[in-house]
Amino acid sequence: MIIELGHFALILALAVALLQAGLTFTGAARNDLNLMAAGRLAAMAQFALIALAFATLVHAYFVSDFSVANVAENSSSAKPLLYKLTSVWGNHEGSMVLWVLILALYGAAIAWFGDAMPPRLCARVLGVKALIAIGFLLFILLTSNPFLRLSPAPEEGMGLNPILQDPGLAFHPPFLYLGYVGFSVAFAFAIAALIDGRVDAAWARWVRPWTLASWCCLTLGIAMGSWWAYYTLGWGGWWFWDPVENASLMPWLAGTALLHSAIVVERRDTLKSWTILLAILTFSLSLVGTFLVRSGVLTSVHAFALDPRRGVFILVLLCIAIGGSLALYAWRAPALEPGGVFAPISREGALLLNNLILASCCATVFIGTLYPLFLDAVGGPKLSVGYPFFDRTFVPLMIPLLLAVGIGPLLAWKRGDVLGALQRLWAAFAAVIAAILIAYYLSHGGPVLSVLGIGLAAWMGAAAVVELADRLRLFRAPWSEVVRRALAQPRASYGMTLAHFGLAVTVAGIAASGFEQQSIALLHLGQTLPVAGYTLRFDGIGKHDGVNYTADRGDFTLLDGTRVVAQLEPERRFFPLQQQTVSKTAIHTNFFADFYLALGDPDNKGGWAVRAYWKPLVPFIWIGGVIMAFGGGVSLSDRRWRVGVAVRRAAKSALPANRSRA
């Protein structure tokens, strides 16, 4: 009964979304405040209804109601409670409901904060959001309904793929969706601006916090997914250039570009039509990603079950949403007034370079991901181009961007001075040389590219610090002045420093992967294995039962000389329901290096295959991601974004360009 209530709520949400589209667009066209206010209420009602539908689905999973087909196919009664919850979005239908729930959540949030926004802008944004919701609600109800019953109900469910039963993955999809569904807000703002025919600084100030919030969530989501791959897939890789990973990376790259170009629109009132195009493309890439993951067009480890009808439906949605918005763009964007001019060497120029490189990187990933599909035209198959392609194209493209990250923030608006900026960065040059020497010494002459990569990371990290010190006039002004300046800095500028520093940390982690050391051996009880100066001792092996699996658990001691560093217990878990074995690695970390241990197969003569790795700086990859997202959060808390302030600022629009306020 409860699940039927959820089904009904979702149908009602579709009706409300139709109503919302009608109310908001008519209200905006007639400038009727009552209709527009009703549209905002509809957005909140739509969210409440979808939340109800989602709650009934969660309930069905909690009580293991196997008369619901979706639960029977994706859950089982003997499973930890947490994974009963995460099973809700561990499958195609349930994850689509989460998708529209988050879409509606953003819609309700816009409606909630809408008081401070120009009413017609708010109405049109909600109207576009309603159109998107209509498309996806129809998709769920017509092709991917999670509320269907099974009769007779099976005794036991088929269970969740064991590899997905992991806390790291539990919250990966919600963050990912908060990220790329969140870009629908920037998209809606872009469409509203095209309808209105006007883009100005106030518009950019409205778009940026939403984009920033989505970007932070997406950054965290991608970091979580990569971390999960690192410790579950069993050999310590953290990025596989898998189509599904690329589907989340492409909106991230485009979204990063959008964040930066929106700054230019806000501060200098230029690059307008490009920013609009980026906003459309960012969300379009999220939609294309959804299509790729759910249509079975590409092969991937995490693809959902295939159904050609779904593929056709999403493709039609894509054509309407992307084709429609790009047609609107072709029609209306030429009318947008061009803004101020600027010299190539300037803050605007640096941000444009950032945009060009990020867009090229995004195109590279796009081509690499869709290459198999392009091959179809000549009769090609489902294939992977794999990391050789991405390593040779993506990485070289990123290097100039990473170099420019250090210089850009030091350039002035309109016309900058590269030589002056480089002079102010002398401390960063010193840091690069020191980092290269230290990396070279510690790695005993490790791989050249890794050593240079560490130098690159040092460049970005030091430049971020130098730029902040420059703004605070550290060591050049009296302390009282420095403190006064530190307090007066807008939080957004601290956010930038943190985000750029976080990027440096991530790059250091990636570069250091060339220094890792590994030992693979067949060990018997009591034997030891030397790894990177440490000694690993095999103390024992035992059986161990979990809720829904049995495991062989190894007992290892990691020694530095005679000092015990850590006890490690890697497992091989066997899930009888799915007849699948999953490796549970044991990782000892001190945040500067990981010791990574995986238990392999027994040789049935008392020996066990053991893979041990020493991975210096690898935690930096994810720590950097968290710092980037935190920087975004700090910037988001800037009082300039707060309700009301933007309106007052917009009123006196021509602010003097101030270099320190990016």
């Binding site: 897939l233 069993g234 050999w235 596989f240 250039w241 898998d242 189509p243 039509s273 195009l277 459309i280 493309l281 379009s284 299509f291 249509s295 067009v297 092969t299 991937s300 480890v301 050609p308 593929g311 056709v312 493709l315 894509l318 054509c319 992307i322 084709g323 790009l326 047609a327 763009y329 072709a330 964007a333 030429p334 869709l370 198999p372 599909l373 392009f374 091959l375 179809d376 035209a377 009769g379 090609g380 198959p381 489902k382 294939l383 992977s384 181009v385 794999g386 990391y387 050789p388 590994q518 693979i520 490796s583 392999g600 197969d601 295959a609 893979r611």
Partner: protein, 180 residues
């Protein structure tokens, strides 16, 4: 329409082209794994590759008087992971003789890959340069070929092997070629 206005149409045109590609992948009757090979019923290209993990070299001369399957794989290839349970099952049941060719891969990565997903191959050759794959006409990995007793290629499958392919193609093929 001025040129400036026309430039704004470019994104739409690019998307239209993309949509055609995407719809191609969904066309009815489209099977991404059916692919003609110019080498069917032709002698298999000769090769002589370094063995993985210091094993003996792998050469096509080793295939004398036996029906063999040659599987191109790589540790970086995601679909290869997908097909590995199928290959392991074939190896466990001793249904086919399977040789592996590790395509453009670091040997240490390949070893890790085999440790994790299992090693279904009788022997593995390392095709570091990709020359052997080019001679076979490999589009990408994974790809599998069947070579009969006389050294002729008789069958080719592009993309990951599935239980369905084993049942509907490999088993009839073995019967046709008279596996003993």
């Amino acid at each position: 329409m001025s040129w400036r206005r026309a430039a704004y149409l470019l994104p739409l045109i690019a998307f239209a082209a993309l949509a055609i590609y995407l719809s191609h992948g969904l066309a009815p009757g489209y099977n991404p794994e059916l692919l003609p090979s110019a080498l069917i019923d032709k002698p298999a290209p000769a090769f002589d590759l370094v063995g993985l993990k210091g094993e003996a070299r792998l050469s096509n001369r080793a295939f004398a008087d036996e029906i063999v399957f040659v599987n191109f794989f790589a540790s970086w290839c995601v679909p290869c992971r997908e097909e590995s349970p199928v290959l392991m099952d074939l190896a466990r049941r001793n249904v086919i003789v399977l040789y592996g060719i590790d395509y453009k891969d670091k040997p240490e990565d390949a070893e890790k890959f085999l440790q994790q997903y299992g090693d279904p191959y009788r022997r593995i050759g390392v095709d570091d340069s990709g020359r052997t794959a080019i001679n076979f006409g490999v589009y990408g990995v994974p790809e599998t070929y069947a070579i009969d007793r006389t050294g002729h290629i008789r069958w080719r499958h592009v993309g990951p092997l599935t239980a369905d392919v084993v049942k509907k193609e490999i088993m009839p093929l073995l019967q046709e070629l008279g596996a003993s």
